[in-house]
């Protein structure tokens, strides 16, 4: 059975639609900025933050048509709702209220900001439970099914796409809305600061001078379907052809030194997609810009015989958006395929990883018929997913 992309959206500091975001990426504009002392951190921190006024204004605008909702929504819920709404606007054939439509939510921390005393009093205590957040989002759209929540560190987004594909292959649903969202909080920033993992500048993925991550917030939504009639562009379909996850079985917070876990996920993915390494056109890497992650990736990519394939990281544009990253970066991959354009890696100057790989420096035109998206995360987890473009002329 084929699984198609029916619609997609990115909410980030670079824009509130996929197209707005892609336009900024083509120009190599980053969403990561230096934020002086704020509620996020006592020290200045480089991060990709969505303007709250813009977010609230957009939410209010959309809410005029949804008079039934009188409950207060959290920042995270607003982002997911705006994102899903835009997917429905882009493709009116999607019926989100149908019994055949399921919501899969990818998030690492959900409404974790509600643990803070400043917000705790405004919302019911159970709102911090991820299943409750998902119910609120599904409820906004009057979707009748219990949403599925995937919370698996930084691979959550890629994993949620794979799960969406598998659920469609089982035929219980004809549409799965996969939405990945995480917000910037004092909780997350302080944790990564305690790890000394955050760069003082915008992250430099795969670069010889890389020294840590940039964090970010955002939402990415991909609507998947097993019914080609529900897609918009019948001439140019994007398929999800394969996907797999794996574990390093090595360390809970450090990436494997050998890259064998990520290699396993890539090999299983390409096997399911029935694609040989030399047929891969483009790799959207994880590229957090920590020393060890980027080294690990270079080894896995090299061992998978993919060293020559053009590869980028988008973490220096969006920051690391945790549970949203896999969705946002996959959507950029999908648009790269549609526009035959490969996005340059912002802030990448000189390769500095363990094994030579082919990092895209500047945005270029290229034939992009497929995309391998990879990710890795705490807990030793890895995941990969493969998208294929098919022209039906």
């Amino acid at each position: 059975m084929n699984v198609f992309v029916a619609s997609d959206n990115i909410i980030s500091p670079l824009g509130f639609t996929s197209s707005e975001n892609f336009e900024q990426l083509i120009k190599m504009h980053t969403g990561v900025t230096r934020i002086e002392k704020s509620e996020l951190s006592e020290e200045a921190v480089c991060a990709a933050i969505i303007d709250t006024k813009k977010l609230n204004a957009e939410f209010q605008k959309q809410n005029h048509t949804n008079k039934a909702s009188e409950i207060e929504y959290t920042r995270l819920e607003k982002m997911a709702i705006i994102s899903i709404n835009d997917c429905l606007k882009q493709n009116p054939k999607i019926n989100i209220a149908s019994k055949k439509t399921l919501l899969v939510l990818s998030t690492t921390k959900g409404n974790i900001d509600l643990l803070d005393a400043s917000l705790a009093s405004r919302f019911d205590k159970k709102r911090v439970y991820l299943w409750e957040t998902a119910k609120i989002i599904a409820g906004y759209f009057k979707n009748p099914n219990q949403p599925i929540v995937v919370s698996n560190a930084c691979i959550s987004g890629v994993l949620a796409i794979i799960i969406g594909k598998r659920l469609l292959e089982d035929n219980t649903y004809d549409t799965v809305i996969v939405s990945g969202v995480d917000i910037m909080t004092h909780f997350v920033v302080s944790g990564f600061q305690s790890f000394k993992a955050i760069s003082n500048e915008v992250a430099k993925p795969y670069d010889s001078k890389r020294d840590g991550i940039s964090l970010g917030e955002g939402c990415g939504t991909i609507v998947l379907t097993n019914n080609p009639e529900l897609t918009l562009n019948i001439e140019q379909q994007i398929f999800v052809k394969g996907g797999a996850s794996s574990n390093d079985a090595n360390h809970i917070s450090g990436p494997s030194r050998t890259g064998d876990g990520l290699l396993l996920a890539i090999e299983k993915t390409l096997k399911e997609a029935n694609v040989k390494a030399e047929e891969v056109n483009y790799i959207s890497g994880h590229g957090t810009a920590t020393l060890y992650n980027d080294d690990m990736e270079s080894i896995a990519i090299s061992d998978a015989q993919l060293a020559a394939v053009p590869m980028n990281s988008l973490k220096s544009y969006f920051g690391h958006t945790l549970g949203a990253a896999g969705l946002i970066e996959s959507i950029v991959g999908i648009h790269s395929m549609r526009k035959n354009t490969l996005i340059g890696t912002y802030n990448f100057n000189e390769l500095g990883v363990a094994k030579p790989i082919n990092i895209i420096k500047d945005t270029t035109s290229a034939v992009v018929n497929n995309c391998l998206k990879t990710s890795a995360g705490f807990g030793g987890c890895n995941a990969a997913v493969f998208f294929q473009k098919v022209q039906n002329n």
Binding site: E42, T108, K109, G110, I112, L115, D116, A117, V128, Y129, L130, W131, E132, A134, K135, Q146, I148, V149, V150, S151, N152, A153, L159, I163, R166, L167, E169, D170, T172, H186, F187, S190, G191, F192, Q193, S194, F195, A244, S245, S246, N247, D248, A249, N250, H251, I252, S253, D260, G261, L264, K268, G377, F378, G379, G380, C381
Partner: protein, 209 residues
């Protein structure tokens, strides 16, 4: 083509009791949650110093998975890539999340720690089980209001049917505000000694026991 899968072994820990494959293997009703979990570790003489570094949720997952895999050592039967770990709960990592929040809420007493923060992800417990047993297959952590045997059994049966895994360690591990509950089981094509078919009804029966 036989498409049935079986629950070949299970381990449940709740209310001061540990059950392995229908048999009460340990009972200690006087201790509170964390102390109970530590007493399980001591009773069975697990020798794994990393246990003491783990948060409560991982400790709970650790003792239950140890007993499960002692009863049914699937790592000896399947290659590491063919064993999936797919676990769910309701409260994610909220227990340790609250602890991390307490380290950052007072500016005058600010002490966030990587040793705490690393556990603020529910799937770390999958990582701990994977490391302990060298398991490299599929891993996913799902969050549900309540344990959902219908979704879990259907998802895992598909995974086994498609060959993406040959065996799955799965179930529910939850720890929050001194309430704890763990129910882990192995699913494979072989019947094992339990001979219980892997269906949502059978899972419900075992879970509610």
């Amino acid at each position: 083509m036989e498409n049935k899968n079986y629950i070949s072994s299970y381990c449940a820990a709740k209310n001061g009791e540990v059950i392995v494959d229908h048999t009460i293997s340990y009972s200690e009703k006087t201790l509170l949650s964390v102390d109970f979990i530590k007493s399980v570790y001591k009773h069975f003489q697990f020798n794994y110093p990393k246990f003491y570094k783990m948060d409560h949720l991982c400790k709970l997952a650790f003792v239950t998975s140890e007993l499960l895999l002692k009863s049914n050592p699937v790592t000896q039967k399947y290659s590491s890539e063919d064993i999936a770990i797919i676990i769910s709960n309701s409260t994610s990592s909220l227990e340790i999340d609250t602890e991390h929040q307490n380290t950052i809420s007072d500016k005058g007493n600010y002490f966030p720690s990587p040793a705490i923060f690393v556990y603020t992800l529910s799937n770390i417990l999958i990582g701990e089980i994977a490391i302990r047993n060298s398991i490299k297959g599929e891993n996913t952590f799902f969050i549900f209001d309540k344990f959902d045997p219908v979704f879990m059994s259907s998802y895992i049966n598909s995974l086994l049917k498609s060959g993406k895994a040959k065996c799955c360690i799965t179930g529910w591990v939850d720890f929050y505000e001194n309430k704890y509950e763990s129910f882990l089981y192995t699913v494979e094509k072989e019947q094992g000694t339990l001979k219980i078919e892997h269906t949502s009804e059978q899972i419900k029966k075992l879970y509610n026991n």
